[in-house]
């Protein structure tokens, strides 16, 4: 199966390790992964901040870039939800504004083919044991769009439970938002930070070394809060845990290029 990796602009720019982990993981599972170089951004930040019309060209671009693939996999619950839940809505709104069916028709092909990573693993590939080894104590934060928009349910937990060496501990108040919320984090910085602090305190109370989530945007906020609060924990994307093996635990296989 040949699938396209939609890495997302945030991961591409700031979290390439997550991208490398997805490639490594999917390749190990026999999936042929392509990274279409023309990909950029799904338009989520524009849309959610109220700039729907600015988001439209980005959505059309997304459809151009990914339309031909059998499946599109993304390691981000919120960008996955953008395509699956909000692209159809953008099409509807354009229609309601008297602009016809063009946008809806352009975006329609990518909607059902877009999967968040854990969905793709569990639903499409039908695996929960991906052969990973990660000897750490981990707690899992279900990010809001993964939880409520995509309905990821216990897929991420099942995947984590099958990881060798991993001790999974429950996060109190897991389904409460971490307070990131895109531009909310800066527009309502006080409330956002208070939510982030509560999330980190809850995570700390588990005694885990690692807080895992399926979205680096939320992890950026949580991780930034952790270092500021001098917490011992680390934020780690689920792809990086699932990609880890006994071999990679001994030597880091990822070359760090010279800057």
């Amino acid at each position: 199966m040949r699938v396209a990796l939609f890495l997302t602009c945030v991961n591409d720019t700031l979290y390439p390790d997550t991208g490398r982990a997805v490639v490594k993981l999917l390749t190990r599972l026999g999936v042929e992964v392509d990274f279409p170089m023309a990909q950029t951004c799904c338009g989520q930040a524009h849309y959610n901040t109220g700039y729907r019309h600015e988001a439209e060209p980005l959505a059309r671009h997304f459809s151009d870039v990914f339309g031909e693939y059998e499946a599109i996999v993304t390691p981000s619950g919120s960008c996955g939800a953008m395509v699956r839940e909000l692209y159809p809505r953008m099409g509807e709104r354009a229609r309601a504004e008297g602009r016809g069916d063009t946008l809806a028709a352009t975006l329609a092909p990518v909607v059902p083919k877009t999967y968040e990573l854990t969905e793709f693993l569990v639903d499409v590939l039908g695996v929960t044991d991906v052969g990973a080894y990660y000897p750490h104590k981990v707690t899992y934060h279900p990010t809001c769009h993964g939880l409520r928009s995509l309905g990821l349910g216990d897929r991420p937990l099942k995947l984590l439970q099958a990881v060798k060496g991993l001790e999974l501990v429950e996060l109190p108040g897991a389904d409460e938002c971490c307070g990131f919320g895109g531009t909310f984090a800066v527009k309502n910085a006080d409330v956002s930070a208070a939510m982030g602090t509560d999330k980190v305190r809850n995570a700390e109370s588990t005694g885990a070394e690692v807080l895992c989530a399926a979205d680096n945007s939320c992890l950026m906020h949580i991780g930034g809060t952790m270092t500021r609060l001098h917490t011992e924990m680390r934020p780690v994307h689920i792809a990086e845990i699932l990609a880890a093996t006994e071999a990679s635990a001994e030597v880091s296989t990822e070359e760090e290029p010279s800057a």
Binding site: C9, N11, D12, T13, L14, Y15, P16, D17, G19, R20, F35, P36, M37, A38, T40, C41, G43, H46, N48, T49, G50, Y51, H53, E54, A55, P57, L58, H61, R93, A96, C144, R148, D175, C177, G179, G181, G182, T183, F184, A185, V186, K187, N188, A189, D190, V191, S192, A193, A194, M195, G196, T197, H221, G223, G224, T225, T227, E256, P257, A259
Partner: protein, 495 residues
Amino acid sequence: MSGTFVGMPAFPAFPVAAHEAVNDQTLRGNLRHATHTIRAKRAKAVAELSDWAALREAGKQIKDHTLRHLDRYLLQLEESVTAAGGIVHWAADADEANLIVTQLVKETGESEVVKVKSMATQEIGLNEALEAAGIRAYETDLAELIVQLGKDRPSHILVPAIHRNRGEIREIFAREMSEWGRPAPDGLTDTPAELAEAARLHLREKFLRAKVGVSGANFMVADTGTLVVVESEGNGRMCLTLPETLISVVGIEKIVPTWQDLEVFLQTLPRSSTAERMNPYTSTWTGTTDGDGPRAFHLVLLDNGRTDTLADEVGRQALRCIRCSACLNVCPVYERAGGHAYGSVYPGPIGAILSPQLRGTASEIDASLPYASSLCGACYEVCPVAIDIPEVLVHLRERVVEGGPVTREGNKVVLQPAKGHAAERAAMRAARWTFTHPGALRTGQRLASRTRRFHPRTLPGPGKAWSGTRDLPTVPAEPFRDWWQRTHGGKDGAK
């Protein structure tokens, strides 16, 4: 008329108001305790019903159907209320409604009224309007009483004094009750039973004396002309039955077509609001009945921005709201910012979508409310009439930053984009340009990577909004796409 009045005027923008609340440890503690307790109870009460999803869908459909044919149902309601001996008044806005009620009270010759807890009368500022006309309105719901005695503002739809703890309530009772009537008993402690008894004694003399009652209604049944109030304390039952004159002020969206439709809402409302299977008191009345209850009944039907809201395809779903307050109780933003920050009698997620529609988005507070959410979706998940609050929030954000067509006071107008978003708009445009030109994106990423050793982990100026409390991520040595090209020899499809 000078715009729709919802609560009190001139509130600061949400983030400014929230700043104080977030740092008020007592308030944070009160709210955290109260919302988490009710949150868990609601979840349990809802889980008991195997057909919850069907009830939620039915509630949504009944409301949507009614709103679509609201013109017809309103006339039907007027007819049935009149046939049952009631008198119907139509109020286009708050001023009209206040004038009607004030006039009606004056005609009775009375100078005081007892009130059943009602959002609509708070929305129009009825108590203040009556006060200005020399009429004293006594709130009889326990929490409303606490708010009124404390010269405070409500901070929750259902539990208006949620921001107060027992100690604070005892203080208020001991200090203020004598101003308004029977004083608090000597040596009052902060045990719930003593506080409730003090309120009961204080209120009882008012119930027995009052000749005029003022209420809202949870539902109005179009085909029978019946009004319904659901409550927990019995104060409503007293106000609805003891006075000689009853005046009910009700938003036009509170209609259901038939008596049978109540079946759905009388199951979903109590479970969603107080986590009870059924609320202790459900009062229904149809016009007037000789020898039983009030001899005169007036229904004031209130628009106050509702028809304008109904004109908006996305925003109109807010009118399905049955004011259960489940969305407030699960909202992580409400929990930390408190109800007052929303600058309206409608706080929390529903307030954030209702106030900017009823009042328009011109004021600072109303333009900021659609942003008072992380879009986590917890509100939508619990809403018993399935209002997609995040969808409406984003829609209203669009109205703020892009402007566009809206209906105000019955007229179609085109809004200009709000001021103060110019820099953001420019940034969004620039980002859109970059993202539709992958080559430019790549250049930017490389630049960021090459200069990464010089990046601070905190930012000055506006960037402080992020880095005041969070470190910035470190920029990696190379973006993913460069690694991919290097290792997988990907053709650079960037245009």
